[in-house]
Amino acid sequence: MTTKPIRGLERYYEYRERWKAIISDMEKSPVPNPALLALFRLFLENDEKTIDCAENNKPFLSSWYGNAPEIYAAMGIHYICVVDNLLAHQSFTDDLAGIDANIVPDDMCGLIKLGAYAVEKGLVPTPTGMIAMLEPCDAQSVLHESWINNDAWKDVPYFALDPAYRSGKEDFEYFVGELRRMIAFLENLTGIKLDWNRLREVIEETNKQYEIWDEYNQLRRAVPCPGGSFQGSGIGWAISQHIMAGHPGATDLFRMLLADEESRYKANKGWLEKENSRVLWADLIGTVNAPIGEWLEKEHGTVVVQDFQGYTPYSHIDTSTEESMLLGLAKRNLAEVPMIRQARGNVDVFIEDVIRIVEDYKIDCVFFPGHVGHKDQSASVGFLREACRELGVPLLVLTMDIFDPRYLPMDKFTHIVNEFFETHKLGKFK
């Protein structure tokens, strides 16, 4: 008798095998990169958990960043972000071509298109529940709408967190109410009660992680920058928000990143032998960023010193009471997580972040990718321009989809950046 394969798991088996092969190759390498190895092991562990949940009917959630994953972690409920694996494995699949034929309108972010495509095509297992967030972009609603109209997902119970518009005390208090409602939903859905002591442990572990990440960032202020472009941003966000929150393995990985950077800093060495320019990438980083970072470093001796995903002004959460923990989580997830931080509410936070980063990290120029999904920010480009002019740093405004490298092909990108650098005497033209 043959059993029917579980929807979505075929892809996950592929991911699992690929991680295993990569890890085994790295282990055999004469100079294994310990941080990358640790990262891939975390990814593998996470995928194995997803497979276990789907195969054995254990509860697991579909969620998105900024939804206080610390709470699910404390409840021991596994969660996935539908697009994570699609992004990590993009170069091995033809998912990008697939999204063109999908239902999501052209002018939406590649992440949303991939998310809709993944569920439509059965590339992710059907979760026990969904936690949706109506922020930071309008496309989130489109995405969730597409999911609840999918045959396999239409009966999945969901809870949508309603974020407050501003970042005052009353806004955080309102969001605490949302988090309480989410906890009630999860308890009802899974029958698992939130253990507040366990939540304390998870939060304390994440507090540690964010402290180390902050130290790592402080070192990047040094000239020359001791770390490479986008280095901590990609890894840091993945292991703090996208796999089980508060994982001690993630804390170890943050320590490795810090130690690596610290060793160069103490030896007064930069990531590049000769650092010509320092860039702020004023947005999230996507799948386009790795080749961009490599090219900027190689061609122009330029390091992207900071970006919105790596810039993590996470405050320490007071774990003394239930209320203080929820208030801290509300603030973290509503006003500190990248994108939700910069795209929600009015334009001030976005501009203040740019100003602070330019000054603190001695930035020579700002790249604003003009990500297709971030129309709110594109509409604010006039404010950004004024701020950059006042700071005396050149601004390069592009139009990209940071999750779809076809939108602004690399040759166009390099042409524009070459013109920009030559015009402003930056990079190799310095």
Partner: protein
């Protein structure tokens, strides 16, 4: 002392030869498959117009434009943004915004009182808003580029054209033709759609007067007029052919470099 600036665009090659702060000769030719060949042909033609024989009669040659790198006889390359700003500023020192609509790309440059670039935006996507788009649409309307501009100027009620991609716009135009719309109004609608596209780029750097339109498409008066209406400010007409602005800027740099060299 003669110097030259060469702007090697994807559609045309432009040369300006200068002598003592004066434009001595200009030429615009269609690009060949090889930038080296385009540069050689254009410079030869511009030189022969004023009785010069060879490249060796030119003290300094600055290259700019997409095809500039790798041309053997160019003394130095300078970015097209910088050259356009320089050229426009020389033509009219009051200019603060340069909108260059070329054969295959367009750019908007914000310039300060010294002719230095403050900021710029470039069309990084496709043919929309470039000479290529106008060529494709003129073909669809079965007219020349000059006739296309003249048709648009006569439009009293421009059609609404939503597609800016030349492939999609072409089918939209065919539908409009089949629906019996007047050619003038289709051409007018096409011009307006391109201006909308340009505006999004213009607003990225700000439209500070005075504004000038350069590049081959600046000869299209319907485009100039539609832009003026949308921006609500006049678009300056230059005394030289707007298509040679980049080459002119390159020649001005060549002149300055030659002076330093000869000191």
């Amino acid at each position: 002392m003669f110097v030259a600036g060469i702007d090697l665009g994807s559609a045309t090659g432009k040369v300006v030869i200068m002598e003592n702060d004066r434009v001595a000769s200009t030429v615009v030719i269609r690009s060949t498959a090889s930038p080296e060949k385009t540069a050689a042909l254009a410079i030869e033609e511009a030189a022969s117009k004023i009785g010069l024989k060879a490249v060796s009669d030119l003290e300094y040659i600055v290259g700019t434009g997409y095809g500039r790198s790798g041309v053997s006889f160019i003394t130095e390359n300078i970015s097209e943004i910088t050259c356009h700003a320089k050229g426009a500023h020389w033509l009219n020192p009051g200019i603060r915004t340069v909108i260059d609509v070329g054969g295959q790309d367009c750019k908007v440059i914000s310039v300060n009182a010294d002719g230095k670039v403050i900021e710029f935006a470039m069309n990084d996507k496709c043919a929309a808003g470039t000479g290529k788009f106008f060529e494709a649409m003129a073909r669809t309307l079965d007219c020349s580029l000059d006739e296309f501009a003249a048709l648009a100027l006569r439009s009293g009620n421009p059609c609404s054209i939503t597609k800016q991609c030349s492939v999609f716009a072409e089918s939209e135009v065919i539908t409009l033709i089949n629906n019996g719309e007047r050619q003038e109004d289709i051409a007018g609608g096409l011009i307006d759609s391109i201006v909308r596209r340009l505006l999004s780029m213009i607003y990225r750097v700000g439209a500070v007067p005075q504004v000038v339109l350069t590049g081959g498409c600046a000869r299209n008066m319907a485009l100039v007029k539609s832009l003026e209406v949308s921006l609500g400010i006049p678009v300056i007409r230059t005394k030289e052919d707007p298509q040679i602005t980049g080459a002119l800027g390159a020649a001005l740099f060549a002149q300055a470099k030659a002076l330093i060299q000869n000191k």
